[in-house]
């Protein structure tokens, strides 16, 4: 979709620079003239929102590090020092802590948007896989960040999660010792997690650059899933059209973000994390942060440690194979009557798993987790099977046609374009 560059250097300095380092051309081509499908809805603003969140996390994080002490006996009080004595320290810390949650809110919307509109399908496989890599890095960064305040949930969460690696045969115990830097979660663990927590966001940033690069090679998907056929008719330039829409989406997102930061700053945290880490007292319930709960439920659903770890890992890794699991050629589920229902069922299953992850692993909750785990993986099996026989609805001929049809509001227009539609693609 990246066509011929439309950048024309206007001043002598720009021409001079353009012949040496065409950085203004790059910016112009990717953020100004870059063509975006004209029918994108607000779900497409979440990419921009995620970039904003990443930058916000990095900026607040860098300032927090100036006041934080990564030591087992001082970390908890240094966080409180930030909350009490650092100018606007409470704001920085609440922004950073709630920012992690909002980052996941946005990334889940972004992922489910991709799932619904088939954004993972050819030619966007690499783009999608890079997204899964970012998701994994985010999970690692969030987990290690949660350890840093060195509260009870930090400590015990770290103990539970690092212990998972001990399920691996032969090397498991060695890996756990290596992660801990000793024989239990202690100061060395805190120090390495702090170091990695500072490193990971920059790795995420690097993969985000690749993600955006891949996006700009293949172009954006859109709600119809029909590729851009005529750049003139089907797309609009990124600036001002997408820019203003993305900024509007971002500001609305900031309102939600601010609601939590200023009015409910501890809503998404655990009260236990305001108790300093104590290796001698286990909290009654060790619960990870909300964004890990669906995976935690899958982990606990399997009555075998190694099996649980494999199931949890597979639940994430399976996403990377989605481009080849989904056999349908039609991208958007708006045109896939059966798959669309599967999608909504899958969303309910994920929320259900999240709820179960927060419940104690006993009695009916375990059985429910097992059923929901089967349903989670069942979605991918079903997607494979359904794609083989599903008869999709007639796709619009082009993005422009779909927009014009809905603009006229009549089904007549849609009928007219449908007759001219390309032969029904194999479902």
């Amino acid at each position: 979709m990246s066509g011929h560059s439309s950048y024309v250097p206007k001043t002598g300095i720009e021409r001079w620079l353009d012949a040496r380092l065409p950085i203004i051309r790059l910016t112009h081509d990717s953020a100004v003239s870059y063509p975006v499908p004209r029918n994108l809805n607000y779900l497409w603003t979440f990419g921009g929102i995620l970039v904003f969140m990443l930058v916000a996390q990095i900026v607040t994080g860098i300032i927090l590090v100036m006041h934080y002490t990564p030591h087992a006996s001082m970390a908890f009080n240094s966080v409180e020092h930030i909350m009490r004595d650092v100018n606007y320290g409470w704001l920085l810390r609440y922004l950073h802590a709630n920012g992690a949650s909002m980052f996941f809110v946005a990334v889940y919307v972004h992922i489910f948007r991709g799932l619904y509109y088939g954004s993972y399908k050819a030619p966007r496989e690499v783009l999608w896989i890079l997204g899964v890599v970012i998701f994994l890095l985010m999970m690692a960064a969030a987990f290690m960040g949660y350890v840093l305040p060195w509260g009870q949930m930090s400590f015990w969460g770290a103990t539970v999660i690092t212990n998972l690696f001990s399920a691996l045969p032969v090397i498991g115990e060695t890996i756990v010792t290596f992660l801990w830097g000793g024989y239990s979660v202690d100061n060395p663990t805190l120090n390495r997690f702090f170091s990695l927590h500072y490193l990971l966001p920059f790795m995420i940033f690097g993969v985000v650059v690749l993600h955006i690069w891949a996006l700009h090679v293949v172009g954006q998907n859109n709600p119809t899933g029909v590729e851009v056929k005529n750049v003139e008719k089907d797309t609009v330039p990124f600036t001002p059209y997408a820019t203003v829409k993305d900024v509007f989406g971002m500001v609305v997102f900031m309102i939600v973000f601010s609601w939590f930061v200023f009015y409910q700053p501890n809503f998404m945290g655990h009260a236990d994390n305001y108790i300093m880490a104590n290796p001698a007292a286990t909290p009654a319930h060790i619960v990870p942060e909300w964004y890990f709960l669906p995976f935690y439920a899958i982990l606990r659903a399997i009555p075998d440690k190694l099996g649980g770890v494999i199931a949890m890992g597979s639940a994430i890794v399976v996403l990377a194979f989605l481009p080849w699991i989904d056999t349908s050629k039609v991208r958007s589920m708006s045109y896939r009557p059966i798959a669309r229902q599967l999608f909504w069922a899958f969303l309910v299953v994920c929320i259900g798993l999240g709820y179960l992850g927060a419940m104690p692993a006993e009695g009916g909750y375990v059985i429910a987790s097992q059923i929901f785990t089967v349903l989670y993986f069942g979605y991918f099996v079903a997607l494979f099977v359904v794609g083989l026989f599903e008869r999709p609805k007639t796709l619009p001929t082009s993005i422009a046609d779909s927009v014009l049809a809905s603009a006229k509001g009549g089904s007549a227009a849609r009928m007219a374009t449908a007759t001219a539609a390309e032969p029904n693609v194999k479902g």
Binding site: R38, N77, E80, M83, R84, W90, L91, T159, V160, N163, S184, E232, K233, V236, P237, P240, Y241, V244, K245, V247, F248, V251, V252, M254, I255, S258, W259, V261, F262, Y263, Q264, P265, N266, F267, H270, A271, D272, Y274, I275, N278, A280, A281, T282, P283, A284, L299, R300, P303, D304, K305, L306, G307, G308, Y355, P360, A361, A400, V403, L404, A407
Partner: protein, 292 residues
Amino acid sequence: MTKTSFRLALTGLAAGLSLAAMQPAAQAAEAGPKPPALSWSFAGPFGKFDRAQLQRGFKVYKEVCASCHGANLVRFRNLSQPGGPEFTPGQVAALAATYQIKDGPNDQGEMFERPGRAADAFPSPFPNEQAARAAQGGAYPPDFSVLAKARTYTRGFPTFIFDIFTQYQEQGPDYIHALLMGYEEPPAGVTLLPGQNYNKYMPGHLIAMPKPISDGQVEYPKGPDGKSPVPETVDQYSRDVAAFMVWMAEPHLEARKRLGMQVMIFLVIFAGLLYYTKKKVWSRMPDGSPAH
């Protein structure tokens, strides 16, 4: 892995130190009745502390709680800063001076005691955790600095979703108030060991702290009519000390909510302007066709 086997492993770590397990866990399995939700002056988007209440709460803390519970993150100077009890700096300096603070070493290498200054933290009632446990029959009175944020109770589904919109987040003070009010005789069948007390709201109902306060124990400042404007009852003491503990845990609460309102107003107006800008931009497509 099974949760059970894993929990066993974790419990193993704690096995040798069962005393520590007496510390009340915030979300224990056996939750008692839900603490009643009180009306707090600092709740909601315009919430502010009631200065008189914080001052009374401080008096309760100082005269009753502080004999066992420290607040080592709170400094005397905090008592005069905006958004708190707002004692005058003079009152704070006088108050601090009534404490003896260990300092040093001096030029001779000796530790020495000096009168407290506004910059000092509240001195802890015990030199260390072991001393506290030894004095308290094995139980460790938790530090008060962030305790109001470290205590909660399960809200359950769907209440926790409504809480996002109602901004309910006063589980801590509600629980603390309920706990102080919740001492009662153990029901038939419950035998208390020495050092245990029965409390309706304590998770598991067994609490090491005996009923700490009774009606009339703390004398409140008198109003013009020679009587305290609020009743000198356990209920009132509990409300006041819980409010004071919220301030200790969240000393910038007022500034946070005030800034929050400014940010919200700005963002809502900005979003409105952007919405119309977006509409304007999208009303004309580059090729002149309608947008939607």
